[in-house]
């Protein structure tokens, strides 16, 4: 009897620990990020480092390079002036929200689609890139568009935490969705035949098809996925500064230059639709 009581006691203590831990989740974020950044002359951006064309780690010089990186640098200069510095921290779809809410990064520019659910947790700027979801398949695959995936036994690969895995369930409800930890792993899984198609935003898929000529994007886009810059809730000043900077970058023609720099090699990229 005594033993049982001591065991129950142990379990209760563990439970208590868990509950008290979960109570202390909301803290921090009562500071003005824009003000702090102006003082330190640095904006810390959370960016992707595994996504060709948008943000990819260059192993030769250990620098992340891509459209988003260049855009973030241009916007930093607009917000902080000529001597403003942009610091980049590598994030994934899973880690970006927690990192932003902890204050480790000031803003997310990581191929993040603006959605109503996310807008409850963070504040979005207006869209800086209008992507859309598409599928990538092996050349010669019988799958020509997303409807061909809507049958039992079809396997679609996606990435945990990306919006596209939610969407594919609407467009191909009968297909099984496997969620892998990042894009390079999802592509590896596609190559080794673990799935029939890989789905995510077209911009990312174009990058993959450039690197892997045996695979192509088929069927066009079937959703609208506007990418936005996210700042923590309550940082309205920061968000307004972002919107202003984006407008300035667009009006000066810098935006179109960056777009051309990164996407001119992509076969079938719609410049007219994407230019600002």
């Amino acid at each position: 009897m005594k033993k049982i009581i001591s065991r129950i006691g142990l379990l209760l203590t563990l439970l208590l620990m868990v509950v008290s831990l979960s109570a202390c989740s909301s803290a921090a974020s009562q500071k003005n990020v824009l003000k702090d950044d102006k003082q330190t002359k640095t904006i810390t951006w959370g960016v992707k480092a595994d996504t060709k064309l948008f943000g990819l780690m260059d192993v030769r010089d250990n620098q992340i390079k891509g459209f988003e990186i260049d855009l973030a640098k241009a916007m930093t200069k607009q917000i902080l002036g000529k001597d403003g510095k942009a610091r980049f921290i590598q994030v994934t779809s899973q880690t970006r929200m927690p990192l932003l809410r902890n204050g480790n990064i000031d803003a997310i520019m990581a191929t993040m689609t603006i959605t109503p659910e996310r807008a409850k947790q963070v504040d979005f700027s207006r869209s800086y890139f209008d992507a859309g979801q598409a599928i990538l398949v092996k050349n010669g695959s019988p799958i020509k568009n997303v409807k061909d995936l809507n049958h039992k036994g079809a396997i679609v690969l996606g990435v945990v935490g990306s919006n596209s895995v939610q969407n594919i369930k609407k467009f191909a409800p009968k297909a099984r969705v496997l969620q892998l930890s990042d894009y390079s792993q999802a592509l590896t899984a596609l190559k080794s035949g673990q799935g029939d198609a890989l789905t995510t935003d077209n911009g990312i898929l174009y990058g993959m098809s450039i690197e892997n000529p045996g695979y192509s994007v088929v069927g066009g886009t079937f959703t609208k996925e506007p990418y936005g810059i996210a700042v923590d809730k309550g940082q309205g000043q920061m968000r307004d500064a972002m919107n202003n900077a984006l407008t300035k970058v667009e009006n000066s023609g810098q935006y179109n230059k960056l777009l051309y720099k990164w996407f001119h090699k992509v076969h079938g990229f719609d410049f007219k639709g994407a230019e600002r």
Partner: protein
């Protein structure tokens, strides 16, 4: 935390089931294979000893994730299609069996050599002596370290999350990104792992008391 259980209870339970299934399969096979290699390590025949040594050193010294990714990515490309769940379970079996082999071998070697000699002198063959005299004593010695290995095995099954094996950790990742409440999601996942491992560790302790 409670809202996570309410909204995603089905996913979490399914993940718990997959983790349990994978752990049980891996536990049974790892114990059999591990004990087999442990015995091979102590047989008089040098050839078998070398084979066992190579197997154990290879799988003990490669990270579990690497073994699993090998089965997930390389094997389907050249040999046969296997799912994420299967590749994760195979990886877990190979990896854990190497550790279990080392544990059981230490048990066999801690049995007084006089036991084996005595059994042989009484006319038992090597295998009979192993089966009836040495192994029963050896397993009694290694129950506590074996318990450790079993608990490690259950926790290591989280490797399935990397190969889309639909286990508890995988569901945790999916739910965390869906609900955007990473903290309470991973707390839930941790509690569910505790529910799997605590009874196991209590059972091993009970066995230890009963047998040793």
């Amino acid at each position: 935390m409670i809202s996570i259980f309410q909204n995603y209870g089905g996913e979490l339970l399914y993940g718990l089931g997959q983790t349990l299934l994978c752990s049980i399969i891996a536990l049974v096979f790892a114990l059999i294979i591990g004990s087999g290699f442990a015995i091979l390590e102590v047989v008089p025949n040098k050839f078998f000893r070398v084979i066992a040594r190579v197997y154990i050193e290879v799988f003990r010294n490669i990270p579990l994730l690497v073994i699993t990714m090998f089965f997930y990515v390389v094997i389907p490309m050249y040999i046969v299609e296997i799912s994420g769940f299967a590749s994760g379970t195979i990886g877990l079996i190979l990896y854990s069996s190497a550790f279990i082999a080392e544990t059981v071998r230490s048990g066999i070697q801690s049995v007084d050599p006089g036991q084996m000699e005595g059994a042989r002198a009484n006319g038992l063959s090597f295998w009979q002596a192993m089966r009836y005299i040495v192994l029963p004593q050896a397993f009694r010695y290694v129950i506590p370290p074996l318990g450790n290995q079993f608990i490690n095995l259950v926790k290591n099954s989280s490797v399935l999350a990397f190969v889309a094996g639909f286990d508890l950790m995988y569901q945790g990742n999916v739910i965390a990104s869906d609900s955007l409440q990473s903290m309470s999601t991973y707390l839930c996942v941790g509690v569910l792992y505790l529910i799997l491992t605590l009874p196991l560790s209590y059972y091993m302790r009970y066995l230890e008391k009963k047998l040793a």
